[in-house]
């Protein structure tokens, strides 16, 4: 059991004891645990997003021969923090003629949805952040919530009453819904091999020989892996799939009209989504929390650090791609999905089924 797990168990035991002493029904322990878990996740997401934004800026700067943030704090570490504070102070502008309710709800829904994904991530061998979520359907849960993100985008785009926002939202909707399908199929391949929808089980299966038992090394899973990477990049709108917020065409796409706190929400959600993809990729193909040096970990590092580290590698790769490639056009994006990725996903499903049958 890891430090997080220990602390969580200890807190739970403490609370149960107190509540019993105060004659409060045990249900409230669960409720409190949910609240605390939620707050922890929110803080963590914010923190991760802040760090990621900083890393993104630095990576972009180095790739582009620049320096990047370097003024606020050592090496500009607090630059994103200051930016976040600045955003919080900013006036919240709702354009005249906008649908106020939708305009407000858009970022909230989007942020909510992307936080939900974090619930099923197996951070440690035993503890997930919220044990209450049924782990058996982990993959399904992720997919369900990632497809809900569309609603947040659409709400924001529609509610802004701006041509670019609307175009961006519609593009986003089309893109997310289309790419859902090959992504699902790619995930199904992994699930087929693992025989379980639970992310925890998938991780467990990759831990035995450390690095060598990762799904990454299984040739029949390479195609699903590439497919997942592409479709996930499309789901989270990073270049070359950033057409919903294509800056050169749609100004800022669906969040053109957002400012201040609401913009910060979209922004945070985007980056936490980015990280979530890294996490899922790490769980599915890079052995999750398991150490690359075999099990048990010879380095005795906390397990969640391995997971976060692996996810960071994936995120860095996505950033690298992001600063290299141009953007696809809408029709090309759709053609890529329906004409290339979807057949490829079916092919890979067939391959994996056959391999699974005879292995």
């Amino acid at each position: 059991m890891s430090p997080i797990g220990l602390i969580a168990t200890w807190l739970r035991a403490l609370l149960t004891g107190w509540f019993r002493a105060w004659h409060i029904p045990a249900v409230f322990v669960d409720i409190l645990a949910w609240i605390v878990g939620g707050v922890v996740i929110l803080l963590m997401i914010t923190l991760i997003a802040l760090i990621l934004i900083y890393v993104l800026r630095k990576v972009a700067a180095y790739i582009q021969g620049r320096i990047g943030p370097e003024r606020v704090g050592p090496y500009g570490l607090f630059q994103t923090v200051m930016d976040a504070l600045k955003l919080l102070q900013k006036e919240d502008i709702v354009p005249a003629g906008a649908d106020k309710i939708l305009h407000t709800l858009g970022p909230v829904v989007f942020f909510f949805v992307c936080t939900m994904g974090y619930l099923v991530i197996p951070w440690e061998s035993q503890a997930t952040i919220a044990r209450q979520v049924d782990l058996n359907i982990g993959v399904l849960f992720l997919l369900a919530f990632s497809s809900l993100g569309v609603i947040g985008v659409l709400m924001g785009g529609w509610g802004s009453n701006n041509k670019w926002s609307l175009l961006g939202a519609l593009r986003g909707a089309a893109q997310m819904i289309s790419y859902e399908i090959p992504m699902l199929l790619a995930l199904v391949c992994v699930v087929l091999m693992a025989g379980s929808l639970s992310l925890e089980v998938i991780t467990e299966q990759q831990k035995a020989l450390g690095l060598l038992s990762w799904n990454l090394w299984k040739p029949w899973l390479w195609l699903p892996m590439i497919l997942f990477l592409i479709t996930a990049a499309a789901e989270i709108n990073v270049t070359p799939f950033d057409i919903p917020e294509a800056e050169s065409e749609l100004v800022a796409g669906y969040h053109t009209e957002y400012s201040g706190m609401k913009f910060a929400l979209y922004f945070l959600a985007e980056f936490s989504n980015n990280f979530l993809v890294g996490l899922i990729f790490a769980v599915l193909f890079l052995g999750g929390w398991s150490s690359p040096f075999g099990h048990p970990d010879p380095l005795y590092l906390p397990e969640f650090l391995w997971l976060v580290g692996k996810a960071m590698v994936v995120v860095l790769f996505l950033m690298w791609v992001r600063w290299t490639l141009p953007r696809l056009r809408v029709d090309q994006l759709m053609a890529l999905c329906w004409k290339l990725l979807l057949p490829a996903a079916f092919v890979s499903l067939v391959i994996v089924s056959i391999v699974g049958l005879y292995l």
Binding site: D242, I243, S248, R327, Q332
Partner: protein, 355 residues
């Protein structure tokens, strides 16, 4: 779209009719940057107007100066010294590279690849440093004077330029691999923004847009001025007539300009750069039409003198103005995303359009 939009390259407004993501019609609405430069010319004397010539196409200030100075000197009957001519050609070519680099980066941004812009500006910086050393400014040079130059080249100029010529082709190869050869970029630009040679003729399109349509027309060859007849360089043409062809023409042109620069450095003669001109420039009455090849196409200057010390009428034929007119033709059957990419490949300069 516009007038304030990240990728209209200035303050251009495009009135679009769209059907979903498909563009049905495009009507450019220009004039937001109109600064009555032609009227200003009538109030100033020939020498004073020269800094304004920079302001037409601010990425090609040297080329504009070249055009205006040529017109005035023809009117006055002045022939600049050989060294001056070589330096002017050199400056114009350097500015052509600098301008194409901005184009290159801007097109990359328009198609979503941010990094290339920074690389392009990295190389452009070397040129701007040279300009700064020679002319004292980094964008609006005002380096040419009627009858010569502001000053001769500074001592380390030629070496700096040689270093640039050495490095630059390698960098272009890098851009080529990073952007031009990229599959996504190619699918964004190939068979997009078709401009047939006939349409180009009808719309008076010149410059790389025309050469991208397969017509090897270059004022430097068709109506050579200064030392261009002595220089060896090719006029690159591509027959695909799409955005990619225009892009390749510019990429090739940068290398050709480097070739010209190297020849300039080898042949740069000594001697004075300035010829004696009267204190008050009073050309005989007459009119003149001077043409040069700007990075965007044929740049013409129609200048009428009535014998006084200021131009009676000055008119600049600015290439972007005419190239932009053909833009709606290129946008038939385009997507919204293409609009931006096509506009980038036409490489208009709003200062040049609105004047």
């Amino acid at each position: 779209m516009g007038p304030q939009h990240p990728s209209t390259h200035g303050v251009l407004r495009l009135i679009l009719t769209i059907d979903g993501e498909k563009v049905r019609s495009v009507v450019p609405d220009i004039g937001y940057l109109h600064s009555s430069l032609e009227k200003i010319a009538e109030q100033l004397d020939y020498r004073q107007y020269l800094p304004y010539a920079d302001r037409y196409d601010y990425l090609n200030a040297m080329g504009n100066e070249l055009c205006y100075v040529r017109a005035v000197e023809t009117l006055l009957g002045i022939e600049p010294t050989p060294r001056c001519q070589w330096i002017r050609v050199m400056m114009a070519e350097m500015n052509r590279i600098a301008s194409h680099l901005v184009y290159y980066g801007a097109l990359a941004i328009d198609t979503g690849a941010t990094t290339v812009l920074l690389y392009c500006f990295r190389e452009r910086e070397m040129l701007l440093n040279l300009f700064e050393a020679a002319a004292g400014q980094r964008l609006m040079y005002h380096y040419f004077r009627v009858g010569g130059l502001r000053n001769d080249l500074p001592p380390d100029f030629c070496e700096g330029l040689r270093a640039f010529c050495k490095v630059f082709p390698r960098m272009v190869a890098e851009y080529d691999k990073l952007l031009t050869k990229n599959r996504i970029f190619r699918s964004r630009t190939e068979s997009v923004g078709y401009l047939s040679p006939e349409t180009a003729l009808a719309y008076g399109v010149t410059g790389p847009c025309l050469r991208g349509a397969g017509v090897p027309y270059d004022v430097r060859r068709a109506d050579p001025y200064y030392v261009y007849p002595e220089l060896e360089f090719d006029v690159p043409t591509y027959t695909e007539s799409d955005s990619m062809a225009r892009h390749l023409v510019r990429q090739e042109e940068m290398l050709q300009s480097v070739r010209i620069l190297e020849q300039c450095l080898d042949h740069l003669p000594g001697g004075e750069v300035n010829v004696k001109v009267p204190r008050r420039l009073k050309p005989d009455p007459g009119e003149v039409y001077a043409r040069v090849e700007s990075p965007r196409g044929e740049l013409g200057c129609y200048l009428v003198s009535d014998g006084s010390d200021h131009p009676y009428r000055l008119h600049m034929r600015t290439p972007s103005y005419y190239n932009l007119q053909a833009y709606p033709e290129m946008c038939t059957d385009a997507w919204i995303a293409d609009l931006v990419a096509i506009l980038g490949s036409v490489d208009i300069m709003l200062g040049d359009v609105d004047r």
